[in-house]
Structure formats: structure tokens, C-alpha cells
Amino acid sequence: MAQIFLDEIAHSYLPETQKEDEYALKRIHNIWEDGGAYALLGPSGCGKTTLLNIISGLLVPSSGRVRFDDTDVTDLPPEKRNIAQVFQFPVLYDTMTVFNNLAFPLRNRGFDKDYIDRRVREVAQILELEPFLNKKAAGLGADAKQKISLGRGLVREDVAAILFDEPLTVIDPQLKWQLRCKLKEIHEKLKLTLIYVTHDQVEALTFADKIVVMYEGWIVQIGTPQELFEYPNHKFVGYFIGSPGMNFIPCSMEDGKVKIGNSLIPVDETTARLANAAEGKLELGIRPLYLNISDTPVDGAFEARVKGVEDQGSHRIVTVDFEGHPLKARIAENDTVPQGKAYLTFPIEWIRLFADEHLIKENKEN
């Protein structure tokens, strides 16, 4: 068990790097708490796997240090770091039995036979692999194989953290759910530090206590699922989290109100004050869930034209055109869908303003 401290990490795959663009990881500086379940979420190519490999020791960062508790492990190879990693595709020793697969990391470290036997059985019990212990690993299903990969990490009691690199990619959807629950259960039971890389927000939201959103080599936000949903720090988070993502409309400030086209949308005083002071391109963001839409003119509503409706089973997504900007609103299945004209209201508490793609908020300069 350990706390992982990433001290000013940056990494480039090119030998001589001058420009910031060429870095796969820009500047990562943060602490991963002992026993936390973290999800590293971001689109393909944002640097999640690079960061994971730096933590595991498969990559040495171009600059910066990695510390586990107080030990500097930057230059240590993976086998000396007490780290375990589960890869995208199950990695097994095909010719060995499940038991031998699980025992392999312990045997390589020279533990005695009785201890290995006991430990492997304990882990097999946790992972529900007991019936397969004497079977060859090669013949098992993808989910059992991933459990074995995970088990090879769990057998080592000294393991500081277990890293997952999109481990559920090859698993069938129903089994995915089961495995995620299993992971969560193991985390609660063993209190291990887990770092889980994924580009699937559902996976991240259900698995992790804290989600680390990455974008183009930066960590743009770390927070609980609720924080990410309600207060996205960066436009990317708003767009990436939630289905569909947040609506963004370019706007300006006028008389303490947000001006979009000819419409003036009221915001609370603090937001207005901060927005007036902010520099850069100003945008209003609102989640489709919180955008109210009605077929009759209500007090303080703005007119918009309905462009289309998508039925998603439990709810509907209405696309409207508001002052030349497309907006999506989420309404319940049994609500009436406005035809032609629709009337929008922007609840004050759910309006977020972004300057140069960053959330405008108090006590932090943008």
C-alpha cells in the first residue's frame, strides 16, 4: 500500500523535444491517495496509458519524479516497484494451469511452497477461480482470464497499487458489469490503491471514487462523478462526461446578464461579477438534463425551434435551434414534445460560464 506522488511529470516519446505539442504528457503534478480507486478517463491518445506506464515503471518519464510514499522509484524497473498491472488483453502463461499462473509471481520472488499454496488459494477464493485451479489457463473464457491477470497482482501482499489498462475491452457486456462489481468488492475488502484506465465514462463512473479526466496530455479535472457532472472544470469535461454532453453557446455579458443573440439570460450575482472580470472567449454551458423545455410560453422563457427528437428508451433528447445555436435537452419519456416552437428556461443554479474553455469560478484565477 502506498501513496503515489507524481512530481512535475512530463513525457515525450521523441528523443529531443522542444515544443510543448510534442509532449504526450504535459505537466502532471498530483498525489494519488493510498487505498483510493481512481479512474483515468479520456479519449484515445490523451496520454492515459503513458501515465499508467510511468507509474508502473514500464516507461521512464522525460522529466519529473515518481514517488511511492517517501521512496523515489522513478528509475526503478517494474518488478522492483511492487506494482501489478492488468492489460487490455488477458496476458496468461498459456501452458500453465491457473494455479501455476497465480503462483508465478510468488515463485519468481522465492517464497516457500506452503505460503504460495495458501496465498494462491486465498486469492482464487476471492476471485471465484477455485474450480479452475487445476485447469489449463488457455482454455478459459475472457472474463476468467482477466481475473487470473488480476489475481497475479493480488497474490503479492506487498503490492502498492494495481493498475488496469482498459481491462474490460474484450469482455462481453453482461460480464463487464459483474467484473466491475467484483473489482469494487475487492477494493472495499482489500483497500488497495487501484488505478483504472478507460475511455468509457460509464465504466469510470461506476468503478471509481475519484475520476481523473485527461485531455491532450493534461489532467483537466480530478473529482467525484458528481463534481465532474455538476462543475466541469474544463469544457472538455462537460462535453466528455454525460450523455449527451454539455451544451455550449458562445455569449457575452451585458448588464449582469448573459447575452446570446438578442436574448438576455439572467445569472446570479457572483457569476456575473466573475464573468465580467474574466478574459477570453466566453461561453455558457448547461447540461441537457437541466435545460427546461416547454411547449407553452412560460415566464422568463426564450423561444427556440425544434429540430429533432431522439427516443432513447427511458428518456428523449430534443434538439432545438436557439439564436442560431443547436442545443440538446433531455426530457422524460412521458413529457409532451413541443412541435415547431419550443420555450427554453435556463435555471440559474445550473448555468456554468466558461472563459477560454475553463470554468469561471470563485477564488481561483483562470
Binding site: 518488478e79 501489478a84 501452458t95
Partner: protein
């Protein structure tokens, strides 16, 4: 509808069946035809039953040739397989100029016609002007593959290993290249030694291509003809008279088509039997392995 009632599927394999018939089955049947008749001339033939088979099976010289052949193939496999794997493991694993140079250099012996290989080695091992022969003789040792059976064997083995190990190496290399990097990363994290990585990752992953390499090398070395024919002609004495050389002596040298036909069939069955055995052993090794 029951499966056996619909036989249209057979039509689809008819073209392949015809090609195989003309390329393999018809020639093979001709050989069978020869092996059970005594042929005196066109139109003059007598059915002799299994007489040629009995004659061939009790032929002392054929027995000797068979043991010689088995020893040769066995030695070739024992040297070429480990050596080929070792070369593949030492080759640069990343694509690039270095890997290309090594690959092309390795492949060169495979591109040379087989009788030319024999000629190259005749010259190479000549005691008077050959680089190898002259060098060894200059060291004070006598080396002459035309005089000593042992020297003829050493020369043949060297030639065979030089000629065909690259094939094993190339196949093994292809097998190694197909192993995803995650396996090596996982092994690193598990603290595996280089030997463990070889034993539990590389060897199992190479098994498919190595089975092919083993079968190809066995068949080729067991059927070897051109190289010993050019290099030693089966001599000195009968020391390098392998099955194929002996067969050609009977069929073309003595024009004994009957015994030669019987010989060919037995030869074919031996190769088939060994390939089957190798294949079965490797298959059961996969299923039964419980290390």
C-alpha cells in the same frame, strides 16, 4: 432435411479433387502399378504380387541406407532447431535497418539452387584450393571428404546446417514477432527471469511455427538428394548413400522399375509415418502439459 440427403456440397470440392488426382493420385497409382508387376518391355508385363516388396524389405543395403538416413535427419534436427531458435532470439526485435540486413543475409542460402549449393561446398572444402579445406590442412589436420566417410559426413552436415538453419530462424523470428509487448511487460512485473520468459512465453507462442519448421526440416532432410549427389555421389564407399540416392541407383542406374516402385511406396510411407508421429507428439504435448 437430414444432412446426408443433400450432397451438392461435394460438387464444390470436385475441382480440387481433379487437380489433386492428376498431380498426386495418378502418379502415385502408376508407382503402385510398377511395384506389383515385372515389366520386360512395352506391353510385356507379368503380375508378381508382393514379390518386389519382399525383395526390397530384405535388401541389406536398403536397411543400411535407412539407418544412415535416420541418423542424418536426427542430427540435422538436433542442430538446426535449437540453433535456429537461438539465432531468432538474438535477432534485433525492432523493425529497422539492422533487422532488414540480418533477414536478407539469413535468407541468402535459401535462394541458391540446391545443386549449386553442392558445387559451392565441393570448392569450399577442396584440400588444395578450398577456403575451408585448405585452411584445415594448413593447420596440420588432413581433411578430405572424398577420402574419409567421417569427413564426408561432417561436410554434409555443415552444408545442411548452413543451408537450412535460416529457415528455422526465420520461422522462429516470425513467431517471436507475433507476441504482443504486453506479455513481456507482464512478465517483467511478475519478476520473471529470462529463462522463464523463454520457457513460458516465447516457446509456447512459437510452438505453431516450430511444428511447421520441424516437419519441413524432417521431410526435406529425409528426402535429401541433390546436395549429397553433387558433393559425394553417395561415397566414399556407401557412407553417404542415403535412401533417395540408393533409390535413384535402382530406378535409373539399374532400371529395376518394379523394386524401385516398391521402394518408393515404402519410402513415402516412412515419411508419412514420421510426420504423423511428430505431429501427434506435439499435439498431445500441448494438451497434456501440466508443468
Amino acid at each position: 432435411m437430414k444432412k446426408w440427403q443433400d450432397n451438392k456440397g461435394w460438387l464444390f470440392i470436385l475441382p480440387v479433387f481433379l487437380i489433386v488426382a492428376f498431380s498426386a493420385i495418378v502418379p502415385l497409382m502408376t508407382v503402385v502399378n510398377y511395384s506389383i508387376q515385372d515389366i520386360f518391355g512395352p506391353g510385356e508385363r507379368v503380375f508378381v504380387g508382393t514379390e518386389w516388396f519382399r525383395e526390397v524389405l530384405t535388401d541389406q543395403r536398403l536397411h543400411e541406407a535407412l539407418w544412415r538416413q535416420l541418423l542424418f535427419s536426427g542430427l540435422v534436427l538436433l542442430i538446426e532447431m535449437p540453433l535456429g531458435i537461438a539465432i531468432a532470439l538474438l535477432m534485433p526485435s525492432k523493425k529497422g535497418f539492422g533487422a532488414s540486413v540480418v533477414l536478407v543475409t539469413l535468407a541468402l542460402p535459401l535462394l541458391i539452387p540446391w545443386n549449386v549449393i553442392g558445387t559451392i561446398w565441393i570448392i569450399f572444402t577442396r584440400p588444395d584450393i578450398g577456403l575451408m579445406g585448405a585452411t584445415i590442412n594448413a593447420l596440420g589436420l588432413t581433411f578430405d571428404h572424398t577420402a574419409s566417410g567421417l569427413h564426408a559426413w561432417i561436410t554434409l552436415m555443415l552444408m545442411e546446417v548452413w543451408h537450412w538453419t535460416p529457415l528455422v530462424a526465420l520461422l522462429a523470428y516470425a513467431g517471436l514477432q507475433s507476441i504482443p509487448p504486453a506479455y513481456y511487460q507482464a512478465a517483467k512485473i511478475d519478476g520473471a527471469s529470462a529463462w522463464s520468459i523463454f520457457r513460458y512465453i516465447q516457446l509456447p507462442k512459437m510452438k505453431g511455427v516450430l511444428t511447421i519448421a520441424l516437419l519441413l526440416r524432417f521431410m526435406d532432410s529425409f528426402l535429401i538428394y541433390a546436395e549429397p549427389f553433387v558433393l559425394t555421389g553417395g561415397g566414399p564407399g556407401n557412407t553417404t548413400t542415403f535412401l533417395s540416392i540408393y533409390l535413384v541407383k535402382i530406378a535409373v542406374g539399374q532400371f529395376d522399375l518394379g523394386p524401385a516402385g516398391a521402394f518408393s511406396i515404402i519410402y513415402f510411407l516412412i515419411v508419412l509415418l514420421f510426420c504423423y508421429l511428430f505431429y501427434q507428439v506435439l499435439q498431445s504435448a500441448e494438451e497434456g502439459e501440466q508443468s
